[in-house]
Symmetry: C2
Subunit: 176 residues, 2 copies
């Protein structure tokens, strides 16, 4: 994989592994001490391309109704139904694995995979994720949308860093 | 809860939150760099009483066929079927919550809850767990026995410490 662009998952989960409540709410995350101390700005600067699934995209539109938060980055949304493009994103109808493989061979900065679940699982299976940067928030939600869905794939990781931002624990892994 | 003995979960999980494979195997955990560097010895010394479910107990007997690993501690195993006691443990037929509430009012050191799932969920619901000390191992198993089962209970935590032992990230939480 050397020489290729890295595909990175970066995002927050509850201590029991949920990205969001079942209704997609992030109320448990907002206001947690330390969010402003993370190095999100540096991470965001290290990225020039963003990929996400259609459900995540629609959630982002609801969370940020006034302005798309990833303006200026190349944004691809995988969808079986939507095609074409908006001012901010391009809809991709291809198989995520094929598209991402091609994307990783292009020149550029890192690629950020936003969100989990539907999109993350097949990409993990195809061994396309290079790094995980996970902020763990101090709450057990009990239920919600999991970052990692149950599946047949086992993935060996290498812990590269552990950081603390007040109430967030951040775990950084490379995929082996 | 002040003045009462603390009930602590202490144990290792995969990065996707599993305590063990579905067949109870811990092969993914054994040999991970850093296990020998944790402060397990200090933790073990801080505990004089251990509680676990029957399934966890039977797994421990398989993992340690020669000698019960918690000899010398007061060990309680919750079971609907087993009664009486062995040389090493006493079987408890009562409701875990009632029994644990009484236990926490007794004098003594900390109480360790070994294992998760069947026993942990009702105890969490009754707000009996005071602390979580979780070592995260660098692997995504994809499936297995989860530490936290889906449930209706939401639990607010306070991150008290983040440590790194080579390939293990350790997160320490107090239950708020």
């Amino acid at each position: 994989m050397s020489g290729q662009r890295k595909l990175v998952f970066y995002g927050a989960v509850s201590a029991d592994g949920y990205l969001a409540r079942e209704n997609h709410s992030l109320d448990w995350l907002i206001g947690t001490e330390g969010e402003e101390d993370t190095d999100y700005a540096d991470f965001y600067e290290s990225v020039d391309t963003i990929i996400m699934g259609r459900k995540t995209y629609e959630e982002i539109l609801v969370l940020f109704p006034d302005e798309f938060p990833y303006k200026g980055k190349e944004c691809y949304v995988f969808s079986r139904t939507l095609t074409g493009r908006t001012e901010d994103v391009r809809f991709i109808h291809e198989e995520p694995a094929d598209f991402i493989q091609a994307l990783k061979r292009q020149d550029g900065k890192r690629i950020w995979i936003v969100g989990g679940g539907d999109l993350l699982q097949p990409i993990l299976k195809e061994e396309l994720v290079d790094e995980f940067i996970i902020q763990v928030a101090p709450v057990l939600l009990g239920r919600g949308i999991p970052l990692f869905r149950p599946g047949e794939t086992e993935t060996a990781l290498k812990l590269t860093d552990v950081r603390r931002y007040k109430q967030f624990a951040e775990l950084r892994y490379e995929v082996r």
